[in-house]
C-alpha cells in the first residue's frame, strides 16, 4: 500500500506540474485581479502540495506488501470489457446504433459473461431494437442510423 501511495503521489505531482505549466501559458493576472490562468494555477499548485504530502507520508509507513491485483483476478475480463467499450465508441456513428449495440451485447455476453450463443443473440436484438424504438419514437431523440442511413 505504501508503494502505491508513492506511485499515486508521484502521478498527482506530475499532473499538478502539468497543470501549472499550461496555466502559465495563459494570463495569470494578480490575486486581486485574477485572469484566466490564475485559478487553474492555484488548483495545480495546491494539488502539487497535497501530492507532496502524500509522497512524504508514504515513506513514513511500513512496507506492507499489497498486490495491485486481487488473488485470482480476472484481468482478461477487464481488458476485454475495455476493448469492447472502445469498439462501441468507434463504431457507433459509423455503423449505427442497432448494429453496434447488438455487437456490443454479443461480445460482452459471450466473452465476459460466458452465456450461450442463443441467449446472447436473442437478448442483443431485443435490447437494441427496443431501445431504438423507445428513443426514436417515444422520446423523439434519434440514435445514429449508421449503415441504415435513410432507411429507418
Amino acid at each position: 500500500m505504501r508503494k502505491f501511495d508513492l506511485i499515486s503521489g508521484l502521478f498527482l505531482l506530475v499532473v499538478s506540474i502539468g497543470i501549472c505549466v499550461v496555466s502559465f501559458q495563459m494570463e495569470i493576472g494578480k490575486p486581486n485581479a485574477p485572469s484566466s490562468g490564475f485559478y487553474p494555477l492555484l488548483t495545480g499548485g495546491v494539488l502539487g502540495l497535497f501530492s507532496l504530502i502524500i509522497i512524504i507520508q508514504s515513506r513514513k509507513q511500513d512496507e506492507v506488501s499489497v498486490r495491485f491485483w486481487l488473488p485470482g483476478a480476472n484481468k482478461k475480463a477487464i481488458l476485454i470489457a475495455f476493448v469492447i467499450i472502445l469498439i462501441y465508441i468507434l463504431l457507433l456513428e459509423r455503423m449505427g446504433f442497432l448494429v453496434t449495440t447488438v455487437l456490443f451485447f454479443i461480445l460482452i455476453s459471450r466473452f465476459v459473461s460466458g452465456h450461450s450463443w442463443k441467449t446472447v443473440l436473442v437478448f442483443s436484438f431485443l435490447a437494441s431494437v427496443t431501445t431504438y424504438i423507445v428513443f426514436r419514437f417515444i422520446l423523439r431523440a434519434p440514435l445514429p442510423q449508421g449503415i441504415f442511413e435513410g432507411f429507418l
Partner: protein, 500 residues
C-alpha cells in the same frame, strides 16, 4: 387570502382527475428517468416541451414538477443498489446506501430514503406555502461574496467527509476543482485546457464523468473478481427500516430537510450541494463518524431528505420572483411563459389557482411517490439477485446510452471511458470519487464568485468581511477549520492508517 383558504384552493385544483393523472404520469416518468443513469429530468422535460404547449398550464406544470422530484426518488434507487447515481444529485447516497445494500440492507436503505424524502418534501411544501415570498427575498441577498463564503465553508466540509485518508480526499477535491475549469472562461472568453477539442468548450460533462467514475469503474472493479454469481450475498429478511433505523434517522431527516430547504432557495443551490452539506453535517455531529462510508443509515437519511427539500425549495425563487435557479427551472419558466403566465411576484396574485394548485400537487406527488416506491422495494431487492453476468452488460449499456444521448456525442463516451479507467485506478490506489465530484461541481461557483466579488469591490478583499452575511459565513468556515486542531480527537490531515 389566508392559509386555509389557500390550501383548500390548492386541493380543489388537484382533485381534478386530469391533474391527478398528470401528477401521476409525472412522478412515474420521473422515477423511471431517475433510475436510468444519464437520462435526466432536463432531457425528458425538454423532450416533453412540445406537449406542454398543448396542455393547459396547470396540468403541464404539475406534470413537470412531478418528473423533477420523481427523478430524485428514482436516482437514489440506483445509487443504493448499484453504486451508480441515477442523477448527479444522488452521488452522496452511493456512499452509505450502496454499502448498506451490500450488507443486505438494501430494503431499509430504500425505505428510509423514500420515507425521508416524503417527510422532507412535505415539510418543504409547507415551508413553500408559509414563507415563500419573504424567504425568496432573503435568498436574493446572497450575492457573489456570500456565495464565495459558502464555497469556503463547502471546501472545508469536503475535507471531513472522506471516510479514508483526508489528504487524499482533499487532493481529489482539488483535482475536481481543476477539472471544472476546463472549458471556456466566461470572464475573458479564453479557452482553458481545451487543446482544440471543441466538445470541451462547455467543459467536461458531469454525466459522463459520473457514469464513468461510478458506473464503468464499478463494473470493471467487479469484473476483476471472478463473478459468476451475485455480488449481494445476504438478502435481509426486513424490507423496511427497523425501529432502530427510524430512531437513528430521525434527526438526520430533520436536519437534512432544513439544510436542503435553505440550500434550495439560493441561486445555484442545487440538489447535490444540499446532499453534500447534509452528509458532512451528519458526519460531524455523529457519535460514530467512522461508520460513515460503511453503511451508516444517517448517511442516507440526511442527504435524501435534503435532496427532496431542495427540489421543493427550488420552485420558490421561480414562482415568487420569476428567477429560475437551475436549468430545469428555466424550462418550467419557459413553459409558464408559453402559456401566458408571468412567473414573478404577481403570479400568486394573478393566478392563485396555478400557484396553490402546484403546491398541492407537490403534497400529492410526494404521497404518490411513496406509495409507488414502497412496494417496488421488494422488486428492487429481487433485482439485485439477478446474476451479475446479466446485470453487468445491462448496466454498462445504460452507462453508454446515458452518456451518449445527452448530446448525441461520441466525445462524451470517450470522457466516460477515460473516467471509467480513472475510477478503476482510483479504487485500486484508495482514492475516493465523491470529493472529486464535489470539487468538480462547485468549481465554477468557487472561481466565479471569487472573481465577481473582486470585480464588485474593485480588487479589495475586504468585501468578504464588510458585508454582514458573508462575514458571518467566513467566520464560521474559519472556526470549523480550526476546530479539529483543538478538539478532543485531533483529526488532523489523516494519513493512510485511517483506512480499513
Amino acid at each position: 387570502m389566508d392559509f386555509w383558504s389557500n390550501i383548500t384552493l390548492g386541493f380543489s385544483v388537484i382533485i381534478d382527475p386530469t391533474n391527478m393523472l398528470f401528477c401521476f404520469i409525472g412522478v412515474f416518468l420521473g422515477t423511471l428517468i431517475g433510475v436510468l443513469p444519464g437520462l435526466g429530468p432536463g432531457a425528458t422535460i425538454s423532450l416533453l416541451l412540445p406537449l406542454t404547449y398543448r396542455l393547459d398550464p396547470i396540468s403541464s406544470i404539475i406534470m413537470v414538477a412531478g418528473i423533477y422530484y420523481g427523478a430524485k426518488y428514482g436516482g437514489s434507487t440506483t445509487s443504493i443498489l448499484l453504486n451508480i447515481p441515477g442523477e448527479p444529485d444522488t452521488v452522496i447516497t452511493c456512499l452509505d446506501g450502496y454499502q448498506m445494500a451490500r450488507q443486505g440492507r438494501a430494503g431499509p436503505a430504500l425505505g428510509i430514503s423514500a420515507f425521508g424524502s416524503f417527510i422532507a418534501g412535505t415539510f418543504a411544501t409547507l415551508g413553500l406555502m408559509l414563507v415563500a415570498p419573504p424567504l425568496a427575498e432573503f435568498a436574493l441577498r446572497f450575492g457573489p461574496p456570500e456565495i464565495f463564503a459558502l464555497m469556503v465553508l463547502a471546501l472545508n466540509l469536503i475535507a471531513f467527509m472522506s471516510s479514508g485518508s483526508q489528504i487524499k480526499g482533499l487532493a481529489m477535491a482539488t483535482l475536481g476543482l481543476f477539472l471544472g475549469s476546463i472549458g471556456l472562461d466566461i470572464f475573458h472568453n479564453v479557452d482553458r485546457f481545451v487543446f482544440g477539442y471543441n466538445f470541451l468548450l462547455e467543459g467536461l460533462g458531469i454525466v459522463p464523468v459520473i457514469l464513468g467514475l461510478f458506473g464503468v469503474a464499478e463494473i470493471l472493479s467487479n469484473l476483476e473478481v471472478e463473478i459468476k454469481g451475485k455480488i449481494f450475498q445476504k438478502r435481509a429478511p426486513n424490507l423496511l427500516p427497523s425501529l432502530k433505523d427510524w430512531k437513528d434517522s430521525f434527526w438526520p431527516i430533520i436536519r437534512g430537510t432544513v439544510v436542503g430547504f435553505f440550500v434550495g432557495l439560493m441561486p445555484g443551490g442545487g440538489g447535490i450541494a444540499s446532499t453534500f452539506a447534509s452528509y458532512s453535517i451528519e458526519k460531524r455531529v455523529s457519535k460514530h463518524p467512522e461508520k460513515f462510508g460503511k453503511g451508516a443509515i444517517e448517511g442516507v437519511a440526511g442527504p435524501e431528505s435534503a435532496n427532496n427539500a431542495c427540489s421543493g425549495a427550488n420552485f420558490i425563487p421561480l414562482m415568487t420572483l420569476g428567477v429560475p435557479t437551475n436549468g430545469i427551472m428555466a424550462i418550467i419558466f419557459a413553459s409558464l411563459l408559453i402559456n401566458g403566465l408571468q412567473p414573478g411576484p404577481l403570479l400568486i396574485k394573478n393566478n392563485p389557482n396555478l400557484f396553490w394548485g402546484v403546491i398541492a400537487s407537490m403534497y400529492l406527488g410526494n404521497a404518490m411517490l411513496l406509495i409507488l416506491n414502497l412496494p417496488l422495494i421488494g422488486m428492487w431487492v429481487r433485482f439485485l439477485t439477478i446474476p451479475y453476468t446479466v446485470l453487468a452488460p445491462m448496466i454498462l449499456f445504460f452507462c453508454l446510452l446515458g452518456s451518449y444521448t445527452l448530446k448525441n456525442s461520441v466525445a462524451d463516451l470517450v470522457v466516460m471511458l477515460i473516467f471509467g479507467i480513472l475510477g478503476f485506478l482510483m479504487r485500486k490506489f484508495r482514492y475516493e470519487a465523491a470529493p472529486l465530484i464535489m470539487g468538480f461541481i462547485i468549481s465554477e461557483m468557487v472561481e466565479g464568485s471569487f472573481i465577481r466579488s473582486l470585480l464588485m469591490s474593485n480588487g479589495s478583499f475586504t468585501i468578504f468581511f464588510t458585508r454582514p452575511i458573508s462575514c458571518v459565513l467566513m467566520i464560521v468556515a474559519l472556526v470549523l477549520f480550526i476546530l479539529p486542531f483543538f478538539g478532543r480527537k485531533p483529526k488532523v490531515l489523516g494519513s493512510s492508517d485511517d483506512e480499513k
